[in-house]
C-alpha cells in the first residue's frame, strides 16, 4: 500500500523521531511511504483560538498537499483529529467542503491505522522498560482510540506496561490554552505527573507528542528522571 505521511509542523521541527519511527515501521511492514513536502501546519492554533478564516486558509494548504494521497496516516492524535473531525466543520458550507470531507475520510491516526486497517499487533519491537501510557484527549475522545496503542505495546518485548490512575485525565496542554492560562495548565499537568510517578514507571509513552512536551517539560523542571517517548519511537526499536 502507498501510505502518505502527515507530519504536523511541531513534530517536523521538534519531534522528528516520531515521524522517522513511523517511516521505519511502515517500510518494515512492506509499504511504500510518501511524504508531500508542501505540508506545513494543520491550522489548529488559529482554529482553537477562534480565528477560523486564518485556520481555513492554512487548512487549504493541507488539502492541496494531500489531494493525490490514497491514504493519509498522521503521527499526532491531536492534529489527526483536526483533519478528521474539525476540517469538515471548518469547511462546512464553504467551497472546498467536499475536499475536506474526502481528506477526513482517508486520514488515520497511526496506532489505529496499524491495528484496525493493517491488522498488525506485533511489530517485532523490543524495548526493556517499565512504562505507562498517556491517552491524549483528542485521540481518545475525538477519534475513539484507547485499545490500539495498548495492543501494539503489549507485543513489545521487555516492555512492562502499568496503567496509571488518571490515564484519561487531560495533561493540561491544550495548545494555546497552555500559554493563555499557564497557571491552570500547569496545575493540570502536575496532577497528571503525580499520577505517572505513582506507577513507578521510568518511561511515559503517548501517541501525542504535544502532551509529552507538557509532561516532560514539567518533569524536567521538577528534576524528575522520567523520560517520555512517542509510541512510534518505541515501536521502531527492532
Amino acid at each position: 500500500m502507498k501510505i502518505t505521511l502527515f507530519i504536523p509542523c511541531f513534530i517536523d521541527q521538534y519531534y522528528p523521531g516520531a515521524g522517522i519511527g513511523m517511516v521505519r515501521i511502515l517500510e518494515k511492514l512492506g509499504h511504500t511511504v510518501d511524504y508531500p513536502e508542501s505540508q506545513t501546519c494543520c491550522g489548529q492554533p488559529a482554529f482553537n483560538s477562534g480565528y477560523w478564516d486564518e485556520a481555513r486558509s492554512v487548512a487549504e494548504t493541507m488539502l492541496d498537499a494531500f489531494r493525490d494521497a490514497e491514504v493519509v496516516v498522521g503521527v499526532s492524535g491531536s492534529c489527526g483529529a483536526m483533519l478528521k473531525v474539525f476540517y469538515p466543520e471548518l469547511f462546512h458550507g464553504k467551497p472546498r467542503e467536499a475536499e475536506a470531507k474526502a481528506l477526513a475520510a482517508k486520514t488515520h491516526e497511526f496506532s489505529s491505522f496499524l491495528v484496525n486497517v493493517l491488522g498488525v499487533g506485533d511489530i517485532g519491537a523490543s524495548f526493556p522498560a517499565k512504562a505507562t501510557f498517556h491517552d491524549g484527549c483528542h485521540g481518545l475522545r475525538e477519534l475513539g482510540i484507547k485499545r490500539e496503542p495498548r495492543e501494539l505495546l503489549k507485543h513489545v518485548r521487555g516492555l512492562e506496561l502499568v496503567e496509571m490512575k488518571e490515564a484519561e485525565t487531560c495533561c493540561g496542554f491544550g495548545g494555546t490554552f497552555s500559554v493563555k492560562f499557564p497557571e491552570i495548565s500547569t496545575a493540570m499537568g502536575e496532577v497528571k505527573c503525580a499520577s505517572i510517578l505513582e506507577t513507578g514507571a521510568e518511561l511515559v509513552i503517548s501517541n501525542d507528542s504535544s502532551c509529552l512536551m507538557q509532561i516532560q517539560g514539567l518533569f524536567d523542571r521538577q528534576g524528575q528522571k522520567i523520560k517520555s517517548m512517542h509510541l512510534a519511537e518505541v515501536l521502531a526499536h527492532f
Partner: protein, 467 residues
C-alpha cells in the same frame, strides 16, 4: 479584557496554587467516581440510556411552544397560577407581590439553581422577607454569605471543621465533631423555620407537560417539607425543564441520580400537581409556577448550541472537568460552574464579558463524555470562541494569526525559515524568564524540549538524496 475576565484570572490563578483545595476536591470526587461507576454498571447499556435521555430532551426543547402551553394548561386546570417571566426582575417582582398579597413574612426555600441565577433570595430579602435555605449545603453557604460552589454540592469546598466553625459563629451552636451532630444542629434550626414559614419556594428538576406536574428529586426530604407545609408555594422553573411525558422521568430520574451523585435513585422523588384540592386535608392552598425565560430563548435561537438546553443540571461535567477541579467553583464567578457554565453563561449574560470561560479549556472533552444528555459541550466552547472572535477580534492576536496563516500557506518559506526558528530556540535560554522572552508564559513553570539537530523534512531530503 472584561472585568469578569480579570477577576477570573486572579481567582483561578490563586486556587491553582492552593494545594489544600486541590487535595480536598480530589478526595471528595474520588468517592463520587467509585459510586458513579458502580451505578453505571447496573445499566444494560449506558450509552443507549444516554441516547434516550437526550432524545426526550431534544423533543421537548425543539417543541417548547407546544409543551410549555400544554404544561401551563394542565397546571391551571387544577388551580395552579402560572406566571411567564421574561427575566429575573420580572420573576422576583411577581413572587414578592404574591408574598405581599398573601401576607407572607417568612419563606423557606429548597434548592433551586434557577432561583440562584436570578438572585431570588437576595431580591426577596430586599423586599423585607426572611428567606431561609433548607438544603443543608445551601444553608451552610447561605450562613457564610457565599454563592454555591457547585450546582449539586454547594458546600463541597468546606471541611467538617469549617462547617463546625460556621455553625458556632452564626448559630451559636456548641462544637460538633461528626456529620451527624452537625446535621442535627442544622435540623433543629430548620424544623422551627418550616413551622413558621408561610411560603415555600422550590425549583424543579423536570416539569411534565402531559400531566402538569413539577418533579423534584432530592436526598434530604427538605424540598418535600418546604413544598407541603407552608400555605403558599412557588416553584420557579426554567422553560427548558419541561419534558413531554411522565414516562420520560423513567429514564431521566435515574440518570440524573447516577450521573449527579452516583446513586441508583435519589432518596425523595416528589411530583407536585397543584394546590390543595377540595376534600384534601393538607398541602398549600396557593400554588404558583413561574416559568422563566431569562435569555434561554436566545440559546434556543442558536441551532448549533440549542442542545445546551438539554442540561438536567446533574453536575457530572463539573465532576470530571480538570479545570473545575483545579480552579474550584467560585473562580468562575457564575451561577453555573464548570463546562456547562462556560458554554451557557456567554449566552445568558453576554459573549464579550464571559468569553474567557470558553477559552479557559484544554478542550479535552471529558465533559461531553460524562454528560447524560450528550451535550456537545467542548465543541460549543470552540463555537463560542469562534463567535467571540468573529464579533470582535483581539487587537494583538489578529496580526499574529494573520502572520501565522501567511507563513504556513507558504511551504517553500516554511522549509527555509522553520529550521532557523527552531535552531534559534537555544538562544532563548539566555533570556529565559526575562520580560522580553517570548516563551516566558511556557518557561515560567515548564522546560522546553531541546531542539533536535535536524527536522523531519531535512531527514526526508537526506534519505531521498542517498537513494
Amino acid at each position: 479584557m472584561s472585568t469578569e475576565s480579570v477577576q477570573f484570572h486572579h481567582d483561578a490563578d490563586r486556587l491553582t496554587h492552593d494545594l489544600r483545595h486541590r487535595a480536598l476536591i480530589q478526595k471528595a470526587l474520588g468517592g463520587y467516581y467509585v459510586k458513579r461507576d458502580e451505578q453505571k454498571a447496573k445499566y444494560t447499556d449506558w450509552q443507549q440510556a444516554r441516547a434516550s435521555a437526550a432524545a426526550a430532551k431534544y423533543e421537548a426543547v425543539n417543541h417548547l411552544d407546544k409543551y410549555l402551553v400544554e404544561l401551563s394548561d394542565k397546571l391551571a386546570a387544577r388551580g395552579t397560577k402560572v406566571f411567564w417571566a421574561a427575566d429575573g426582575p420580572e420573576a422576583a417582582d411577581y413572587i414578592a407581590s404574591v408574598a405581599r398579597d398573601a401576607g407572607v413574612k417568612r419563606i423557606i426555600k429548597s434548592k433551586t439553581m434557577t432561583g440562584e441565577e436570578i438572585h431570588l433570595g437576595q431580591a426577596l430579602e430586599k423586599a423585607g422577607l426572611e428567606v431561609v435555605e433548607s438544603d443543608l449545603g445551601e444553608f451552610i453557604v447561605q450562613l457564610r454569605g457565599e454563592p454555591p460552589y457547585h450546582i449539586v454540592f454547594p458546600s463541597m469546598h468546606l471541611t467538617r471543621g469549617e462547617i463546625d466553625e460556621t455553625f458556632q459563629k452564626k448559630l451559636g451552636s456548641p462544637h460538633a465533631d461528626t456529620p451527624e451532630e452537625l446535621t442535627m444542629i442544622a435540623r433543629n434550626v430548620m424544623r422551627q423555620k418550616y413551622c413558621e414559614a408561610d411560603m415555600g419556594i422550590s425549583g424543579a428538576n423536570f416539569a411534565v407537560a402531559e400531566t402538569g406536574h413539577i418533579s423534584i428529586t432530592e436526598n434530604e426530604g427538605n424540598a418535600r417539607l418546604s413544598t407541603s407545609l407552608p400555605r403558599v408555594l412557588v416553584s420557579i422553573v426554567g422553560i427548558e425543564k419541561v419534558v413531554p411525558k411522565l414516562d420520560d422521568l423513567a429514564v431521566l430520574l435515574p440518570m440524573l441520580a447516577t450521573a449527579g451523585a452516583g446513586q441508583n435513585m435519589t432518596c425523595y422523588n416528589t411530583l407536585l400537581g397543584g394546590p390543595r384540592q377540595p376534600g384534601e386535608t393538607d398541602g398549600p392552598t396557593e400554588f404558583h409556577v413561574v416559568l422563566l425565560d431569562n435569555r434561554r430563548t436566545s440559546l434556543l435561537a442558536d441551532p448549533e448550541q440549542r442542545d445546551a438546553l438539554h442540561c438536567i443540571r446533574c453536575g457530572a461535567c463539573l465532576n470530571v472537568c480538570p479545570i473545575f477541579k483545579n480552579i474550584g467553583g467560585h473562580s468562575y464567578g457564575t451561577t453555573y460552574q464548570g463546562p456547562i457554565g462556560s458554554v451557557i453563561t456567554p449566552h445568558l449574560r453576554g459573549l464579550q464579558s464571559w468569553k474567557h470561560l470558553s477559552f479557559s479549556s484544554s478542550l479535552c472533552g471529558a465533559c461531553h463524555e460524562a454528560c447524560p444528555v450528550k451535550i456537545d459541550l467542548h465543541h460549543h466552547l470552540l463555537q463560542n470562541r469562534r463567535n467571540a472572535i468573529a464579533e470582535k477580534p483581539v487587537w494583538w492576536e489578529k496580526p499574529i494569526f494573520a502572520g501565522f496563516a501567511w507563513f504556513m500557506c507558504r511551504p517553500a518559506l516554511y522549509r527555509f525559515a522553520a529550521p532557523l526558528l527552531r535552531l534559534g530556540a537555544p538562544f532563548l535560554h539566555a533570556i529565559r524568564g526575562k520580560f522580553f522572552d517570548p516563551a516566558r508564559v511556557w518557561t515560567g513553570t515548564r522546560d522546553l524540549p531541546p531542539a533536535p539537530p535536524q527536522s523531519f523534512k531535512e531527514y526526508w531530503r537526506h534519505r531521498n538524496a542517498k537513494r
